[in-house]
């Protein structure tokens, strides 16, 4: 059902946890299937310096959360903001069809965290 990459990120999730006093924080949740994820970011020199996540959800939800933290880390804020749901799914060698919309919220959570960062720094 899940690709090896998904299973890898699910069993060994990267960057789990919270950041104290983050520069930005974004929480998204999907009412139908009920997953909830929060992304925390630290920004330094306009780059994502640190990023962590916490997720309540299925294997796909955990894997996409983990994957986006890897994709975003070190990127500029604008680059990170441009990461799409499809980018996340592609980096994981795809997600099952039913899970494409429900569990693939990590990009949205990161964008929300970045928006939070931008609103605080304007």
């Amino acid at each position: 059902m899940y690709s090896e990459k998904v299973m890898d990120h699910f069993t060994n999730p990267r960057n789990v946890g919270e950041i104290e006093n983050p520069d930005g924080e974004g929480t998204v949740g999907n009412p139908t299937c009920g997953d909830m994820m929060t992304i925390y970011i630290k920004v330094k020199d306009d780059k994502i310096d640190d990023i962590k996540f916490k997720t309540f959800g299925c294997g796909a939800a955990i894997a996409t959360s983990s994957m986006i933290t890897e994709l975003a880390k070190g990127k500029t804020v604008d680059e990170a903001y441009a990461i799409s749901r499809d980018d996340v799914a592609d980096s994981l060698d795809g997600l099952p069809k039913v899970k494409m919309h429900c569990s693939n919220l990590a990009a949205d959570a990161l964008q929300k965290a970045i928006e939070d960062y931008r609103s605080k720094n304007n």
Binding site: Y2, M7, F10, T11, P13, V16, G17, T27, T32, C33, G34, D35, M36, M37, T38, F53, K54, T55, F56, G57, C58, G59, A61, I62, V98, C102, S103
Partner: protein
């Protein structure tokens, strides 16, 4: 592998497989033909019919073979509904809120065709109240269909009492006993049922075969048409090997029932205690007493069941969950909803169902493996706070 998903399916037992084997390649005749080879097949089938009948206290000619529990449920429910409705007897059906989709979807299809269906509530316990049933009965009620034991939370319904009320009111009564047959005593006369569904693969028989008990003089409108096999209700060339396998599975189930019940109950209770004592905020869904010997349905706050099942799988432990995330339609189990769980709580369910081949050591392993997995998932959960 530690297999604890017996309510989903069970392996074919060695003894059952051995009895089936000759019917594939040697005694392969069509049971409807009358030369020797056909008669051999027919004899195997009729012996199986007797074994099924004996397990549930029925007569041989009250058993028809089907392609599984789903077909049995459909033949029974649609069959009674159309027969009695065509005869002008009414259009009202009573069922419960926690039926298997084979019953639930059949009822809801009938609703779209003009039948009226009452879904009885089951409350936190997961058990229908006989009083609710009584008040739901009306002039137009033609059928009551309520499962014997639930496939998710294992709760056992008061079938004998319901059957008595159905009889008093002259209403046909069907019970989906797919999960109870072979696990607890089932006697069609004690239970007062007119129709009762059985599936082979839940009791160590092969998949794709089942049976339907039809009390004498109960008439059904057929929903499938063909060469007249199985009293014109489940036509098609008989799956002789499968039927023989179901028969043997029933024979063994009857023989071993008295021994299995205390053994399985004991393992189950040990597993429940082990987990509830070591994992905080862990609970059991549904009534703990009136429940199948082998059924456990845990609820762990703050985590999601699909990830839990996957992590257990990685440790070689097979279980299942009613979490929305693991369903095809991404909706939470209707059973967990019916016992009043909010979506977020139904996410955290884990069903472990124990069979006679599970051992005490396996239970010990599971008690050891679950807590750290729950802890790991909680540590990454956005909704878990100590």
């Amino acid at each position: 592998m530690i297999y604890m998903d017996h309510s989903a399916t069970a392996p074919v037992r060695k003894e059952v497989f051995e009895v089936m084997e000759p019917y594939f390649t040697k005694s392969f005749g069509n049971a409807s033909t009358f030369y020797s080879l056909g008669r051999e097949a027919k004899a195997g089938m009729e012996e199986a019919r007797e074994n099924v009948a004996k397990l549930i206290g029925a007569n041989n000619d009250e058993i028809i073979f089907t392609s599984g529990g789903t077909e049995s449920d459909n033949i029974a429910i649609q069959g009674i509904a159309y027969k009695l409705n065509n005869a002008g007897k009414g259009n009202h059906i009573i069922t419960s809120a926690i039926e298997h989709p084979a019953v639930m979807e059949t009822c809801s299809a009938l609703e779209k065709k003009g039948f009226e269906v009452t879904y009885l509530p089951v409350y936190e316990e997961g058990i229908v109240k006989v009083e609710d049933l009584k008040s739901a009965i009306k002039e137009e009620t033609i059928l009551i269909t309520i499962m014997h034991a639930n496939n998710e939370i294992g709760t056992i319904q008061p079938i004998a009492e319901i059957g008595k009320i159905a009889k008093e009111n002259n209403i046909k009564f069907h019970s989906d006993a797919v999960q109870s047959v072979g696990k607890i005593p089932v006697d069609v006369n004690e239970l007062n049922v007119d129709l009762l569904s059985i599936s082979s693969h839940k009791i160590y028989g092969p998949k794709g075969v089942g049976a339907l008990y039809i009390r004498k003089r109960t008439r059904l409108e057929p929903i499938l048409y063909g060469g007249g096999q199985e009293k014109d209700l489940s036509p098609g060339t008989e799956n002789v090997a499968g039927i023989v396998g179901l028969g043997e599975a029933c024979r063994l189930a009857k023989e071993e029932l008295d021994e299995n019940i205390p053994y399985i109950t004991n393992l189950r209770n040990k597993l429940i205690d082990g987990i509830l004592n070591s994992v905080e905020k862990s609970y059991i869904n549904g009534n703990i007493e009136k429940r199948l010997p082998g059924n456990i349905n845990f609820r762990f706050t703050g985590i999601e069941g699909e990830s839990l099942v996957l992590m257990l799988d990685a440790k070689g432990i097979d279980g299942s969950t009613g979490s929305a995330c693991s369903s095809k339609k991404l909706t939470a189990s209707h059973v967990l909803k019916a016992i009043g769980l909010e979506d977020v709580d139904s996410h955290g369910s884990l069903r472990l169902t124990i069979g006679p081949e599970n051992t005490e050591e396996e239970v010990d392993t599971v008690i050891k493996e679950i807590p750290p997995i729950v802890e790991k998932l909680r540590s990454m959960s956005s909704i878990w706070e100590k």
